[in-house]
């Protein structure tokens, strides 16, 4: 049997209603309350313990509550955490989302939460946790438990899930292909005519992060400056096999005090633009020659003798964000105060 732990709030764990909302994290043996119904539905999975916490306690002492709950959780050596169903209850849903997300991200324990699509816990989970869709209130319990059981079994077995509506989970944000009933052209016409009639709809959600510009560098003539690029500029022959698209990481190369990037010794492997002009003069990608001149003229302090490179082509935002953090951490350690980031 696969060992599972179930998380409930004070009410569903039978510890009391609103008057018990300040209850600190508690461990109970086996399944409790809705956990009994869930256990009856589960095939090959045993609920070995129930963790419970008062809604107010979790909200007001989140870090402490999480730490205590994770201690309880680890001690059970579970292969699965199930949290809820929280239905439309906001405080309960937030706790379910947080403990599920933390268990999976920090401890690597697969987690399933359950709540209504409008529960604020859904935003907290932000696609990182599988959430079973439930009704907005406890009247949906009977429908929720078997659905949760099937999803829990899928998580444990590694079965690939079908579409959200079919399996009964809330969409997490992955974009999967399917064949629509009409070609895109006809769907576009329908959308446009509806928009002209005042009904705006879209098949793709927008919304991009806008990165606020940092404050200017105080005194460039004293600053240590580094060169970073997403132009796929690497030593000739691409010795470390930087991909032409969807790079999984970044690379760093020493400049060795060179005055410029010599044509024939560097090339771009970026798959998103015509690299002819870049390869004719790699300084067009990584402007080492100009920066050396600016240093010689005293307009820039010093140049960091390492440049960083990756291919910014089809890179998921999450991956690009990670590259940025990792590169920035190294540069900060090296005392770099400013970066010239060349994009393509």
């Amino acid at each position: 049997m696969v060992r599972a732990v179930h998380y409930l709030n004070q009410f569903f764990a039978g510890l009391g209603g609103e008057e018990a909302a300040g209850t600190p994290p508690t461990r109970l043996d086996g399944p409790v309350g809705p956990g009994r119904g869930l256990a009856a539905e589960l095939d090959g999975i045993e609920v070995v313990a129930t963790l419970a916490c008062g809604d107010d306690y979790f909200g007001e002492h989140e870090e402490e509550a999480l730490a205590r709950l994770l201690d309880f959780l680890e001690a059970e050596r579970p292969e699965l955490l199930v949290a809820g169903p929280a239905f439309g209850s906001g405080r309960y849903g937030l706790a379910c989302a947080r403990i599920s997300r933390t268990a999976s991200e920090r401890l690597g324990i697969p987690a399933l939460a359950a709540m209504h699509e409008e529960n604020p816990g859904v935003a907290v989970a932000n696609g990182a946790v599988l959430i079973a869709a439930t009704a907005g209130n406890v009247a949906g319990m009977r429908e929720a438990l078997p659905r949760m059981a099937r999803l829990a079994e899928a998580l444990v077995s590694g079965r690939a899930l079908g579409p959200p509506a079919q399996e009964g989970y809330l969409p997490r944000g992955f974009r999967r292909n399917e064949l629509a009933e009409k070609p895109g052209a006809e769907r576009a016409l329908d959308l446009l005519l509806a928009k002209l009639a005042g009904d705006v709809g879209s098949e793709v959600a927008g919304g991009f992060d806008r990165v606020p510009p940092p404050p200017p560098v105080g005194d460039l003539s004293r600053a240590l400056v580094a060169l970073v690029t997403e132009a796929g500029c690497v030593p000739q022959g691409n010795p470390d096999r930087l991909p032409t698209i969807r790079a999984r990481g970044w690379l760093r190369y020493e400049l060795g005090g060179a005055p410029r990037l010599e044509p024939g010794r560097y090339e771009s492997v970026h798959g998103g633009f015509d690299v002819s002009l870049a390869n004719e003069d790699p300084n067009r990608l990584v402007p080492l020659d100009t920066v050396r001149t600016l240093v010689a003229e005293g307009r820039l302090g010093r140049l960091h003798d390492v440049y960083y490179t990756t291919t910014g082509n089809g890179t998921p935002v999450a991956a690009a964000t990670r590259f940025g953090r990792e590169i920035a951490a190294e540069l900060t350690d090296a005392g770099v105060e400013a970066v010239l980031l060349s994009g393509t």
């Binding site: 974009r175 399917e178 064949l179 927008g206 969807r246 690299v275 991956a319």
Partner: protein, 393 residues
């Protein structure tokens, strides 16, 4: 203008001519065949009045054109890598297996031309040879229709309609990123074709635009997508019913500077406004920075009061919940997804490979391994030709 398109059965197809330096094979949809290094797909057409089916002068979209139903000519060519200016351009078509659904236009008879390398020609000349030959073969194959009775006849004409219907324009983006990466308008690269330019919608359906853009395969608009363009056809069909089809504007994509991008977007919006557009469908050609062109065009149109819907493909990592859009503006509140080009198609073993046995990344083309949708020709084409879309899981 009025234009008639006559359809003829595939059985009328002429024998495929012998061509020096070109391997010619005829295969049918459903056969376990994979095509590799595919450049373009073209529907065989011929004109009874003797004019070219792919004219170099502005004379498409008038009179009558004959087409062979369910026949496609594919051109395959593996450009010498050392001269290739862009790195990623693998392009496959599977006639069976899980990838076949991505190229629905290959379900019938497929005439596959594999162009050999020639030491006397550079990449640009190789491309011109392959493109010219492919269009000529497509015309040759349809020639027997000139002496036959058509099975079906469609008439394309835009009459006067109820002036209260919303006026809709198609803004068709054509990219130009230099040789091997441009679309052709009457044989002229998009960047030199005086875009934006208003054309009669029938011109687009009648061979005025041909494909020479060989970057991301799935995001490519092969010639057949213009010949059979579902958007223009839908607009004709709805003309006088739900809308007034106010015209087609060919516009430039892949401008190379921010200022040029802004200018191209503003010029396209201005052209649509001159046509009296209340609304515009903005289509996309290729990926990456052409998506910025689309977003800027949407913004420019909305700013002059033209409501827009854009058609774009997504490139979302299958393992990530990050957005699959390269660019986005708040005005783009109405977007049709042509599918997620980054999704993987399950492994499949073809019994036969045409076009070249080795993929550009060095892997044997017959190896059963997952291939991203982005490598399937026209799979997520962004004129709305296919039903492929992406939904959120």
């Amino acid at each position: 203008m009025a234009w008639e398109l006559a359809s003829f059965p595939a059985e009328l197809m002429a024998p495929v001519p012998d061509l020096e330096g070109v391997d010619v094979q005829v295969v049918r949809g459903g056969e376990p065949v994979r095509l590799t290094h595919v450049l373009d797909a073209v529907e065989p057409r011929a004109r009874p009045d003797g004019r070219s089916a792919f004219p170099l002068q502005g004379c498409a979209g008038e009179g009558r054109t004959n087409r062979l139903d369910d026949v496609v000519v594919f051109s395959c060519l593996d450009f010498p890598a050392e001269e290739r200016t862009l790195h990623e351009q693998e392009s496959v078509v599977d006639l069976a297996g899980p990838g076949a659904v991505l190229t629905p236009y290959a379900a019938g008879t497929n005439v596959v031309l594999t162009f050999g390398r020639r030491n006397d020609l550079g990449n640009e000349e190789l491309e011109a040879w392959a493109r010219g030959t492919t269009l000529a073969v497509a015309e040759e194959l349809a020639r027997p229709t000139l002496a036959a009775q058509s099975a079906d006849l469609e008439r394309f004409e835009l009459g006067a309609v109820d002036p209260s219907l919303p006026a809709i324009v198609a803004l068709v983006q054509l990219s130009d990123l230099g040789p091997l990466y441009y679309q052709f308008v009457y044989g002229v690269p998009a960047g030199a074709a005086d875009l934006p330019r208003v054309v009669d919608p029938a011109e687009l359906l009648d061979g005025a635009v041909t494909c020479g853009e060989y970057h991301w395969a799935a995001l490519r608009n092969p010639t057949i997508v213009f010949q059979r363009n579902a958007l223009v056809r839908a607009l004709y069909r709805e003309h006088g019913r739900r809308l007034c089809f106010a015209g087609v504007v060919l516009m430039r994509g892949y401008e190379q500077s921010a200022a040029d991008k802004q200018r191209a977007a503003a010029a396209a919006a201005e052209t649509a406004a001159r046509l009296g557009a209340d609304g515009a469908i903005v289509t996309t050609d290729a990926g990456g920075n052409s998506h910025t062109d689309v977003m800027l065009t949407v913004r420019a149109c909305e700013e002059v009061g033209i409501r827009t819907t854009a058609i774009v493909a997504e490139m979302a990592d299958p393992d990530s919940t990050s957005s699959g859009l390269t660019d986005w503006v708040p005005e783009a509140d109405s977007i049709v997804s042509a599918g997620n080009a980054e999704e993987l198609v399950p492994a499949w073993t073809p019994a036969r490979v045409l076009g070249g046995d080795t993929l550009l990344d060095g892997a044997p083309a017959a190896d059963p391994r997952p291939i991203p949708v982005r490598n399937y020709l026209g799979a997520t084409n962004q004129t709305g030709q296919h039903a492929l879309t992406a939904t959120t899981w």
